[in-house]
Symmetry: C2
Subunit: 278 residues, 2 copies
């Protein structure tokens, strides 16, 4: 049997997958891009040796990355997505009828092109007229923008290598400066099982910049550690509160999952005091 | 680097672990038993090629297997644990001061012996005077018992091989017959990511026998699929309701996790109608 062994130096369990077929293998200016076919997950997108999405389960991540903050905002119009070259976050954001403009800022154009070709159900909306694709560094794109953005979504690779620039005080300040009054910022922030210290550090850094910071989780089978966290921040708007009725079509996210996903209060306190013993 | 590759034909992702040292390797009448040392998880117990517990994260599983039903019962006295040869469930059950008697029914004595030796912090209470060890088949042990058991806990290996006898209508009937009025039955029931059909079948079979059946989950990094389910049943007692104050010492379980862990209502309905699309 042909297998793919994930290359993730930060995960104490190595995941591996059966490979029925290698559909694409290339190198962009930024990373190695591979698409394989797996009997259970369908097509899988692999960047620099780490699984980014699979056809079968990508919705868990994309729904949870986007819909929590989009429902916590009363009427999101302008959205920035940084990363997310596969188009999954764009597809979910555009389910919200209030959204007029999505700046889709992906540094690596090749990821968008490969996704258009091999993941047509994920990249289905990247060429929607409401979407403006910017192939450039996300931090650069934010500099000097007006404060008219309702939601900023960071959908990067793991917090290593070139993605680390998206987790600095300087970057968070740029995000804050472009957020509207009710605006939200949300980013992946790794696994509560395997990367607890990274989770805490992201929260601590965000707290230096934003008045309100929170965290929620989702179970994602193909990300190491699975118990995946999303860090969210605002100028004061409350992410746990839904300010819009849940009426879009989803597979995992719902109004009850919205409430359910946030870390319980006492557990959150223990996390930030570094008192969770694992 | 020396690695252990898990042998789990029902998991679409294969997990593998670095092995610093093989501490024990033997064959009992029932299964192959291995103990290895891993740099992140510490010692790991492996039965027939599948990871059962690790020193670092065993508490997630053992706390969630036991404390939900023990807190939903007003004053559990008599408890049966079927399986759980490592002693982790026994340790957690004995944290409840009302418990007077634990029948610890493990078919494979070798697992208890290996755990006594290599997992002293897990098997720490297997020789407590309240514990009666019975090395026999759990289904046999239940036959013809009085209805004086407050909690029956099944802590078996995966629902394949010889453990399948613990998931039949006949077995569930035996469990029900020995439960007291406020009694609960709880069992592992595999991953909501990878074994959704098994989860549904366990629930359906339990519903044929018990008036009340429910399900809750916990994130467990070392079990394939991670998003692990526990199926719970009773003669009418409500598992979501805590009838005891939370006052024991735990690392993950708490009163807020108790509420949090149960599958949200609409998601549970969709699960049982086979409408969860993954």
């Amino acid at each position: 049997m042909i297998r793919f062994y994930e290359r993730d130096p930060y995960a104490p369990i190595q995941y591996s997958y059966e490979v029925e077929n290698i559909l694409y293998k290339g190198k962009s200016k930024f990373q190695e891009i591979i698409v394989v076919q797996n009997p259970h997950f369908g097509r899988m997108l692999i960047l620099d040796g780490v699984v980014q999405i699979t056809e079968r389960d990508e919705f868990f991540y994309h729904e949870m990355l986007t819909h929590v903050v989009l429902h916590a905002h009363p009427a999101p119009k302008n959205v920035i997505i940084i990363g997310g070259g596969d188009g999954g976050a764009v597809r979910e954001v555009l389910k919200h009828k209030t959204v007029e403009k999505v700046y889709f800022v992906e540094i690596d154009e090749e990821v968008i092109n490969v996704s258009r070709k091999f993941f047509p159900k994920v990249a289905c909306d990247v060429d929607d007229p409401r979407v403006e694709i910017k192939c450039m560094d996300g931090a650069e794109f934010l500099k000097g923008r007006d404060a008219d953005i309702d939601v900023v979504i960071v959908d990067s690779t793991d917090i290593v290598g070139f993605a680390t620039s998206l987790f600095t005080e300087e970057f968070f300040t740029s995000v804050k400066n472009c957020l509207s009054r009710d605006g939200f910022y949300v980013t992946l922030s790794e696994s509560l099982h395997f990367h607890k210290e990274i989770v805490i550090e992201v929260q601590e850094t965000m707290k230096k910049i934003f008045p309100l910071v929170d965290i929620y989780t989702a179970p994602i089978a193909t990300y190491a550690g699975n118990w995946w966290t999303f860090s969210v921040a605002s100028k004061g708007a409350l992410p746990r509160e839904m300010r819009q009725k849940f009426s879009i079509n989803t597979k995992y996210y719902s109004d009850e999952i919205h409430q359910h996903a946030f870390l319980p209060n006492k557990m959150y306190e223990k996390l930030m005091k570094r008192k969770l013993e694992w």
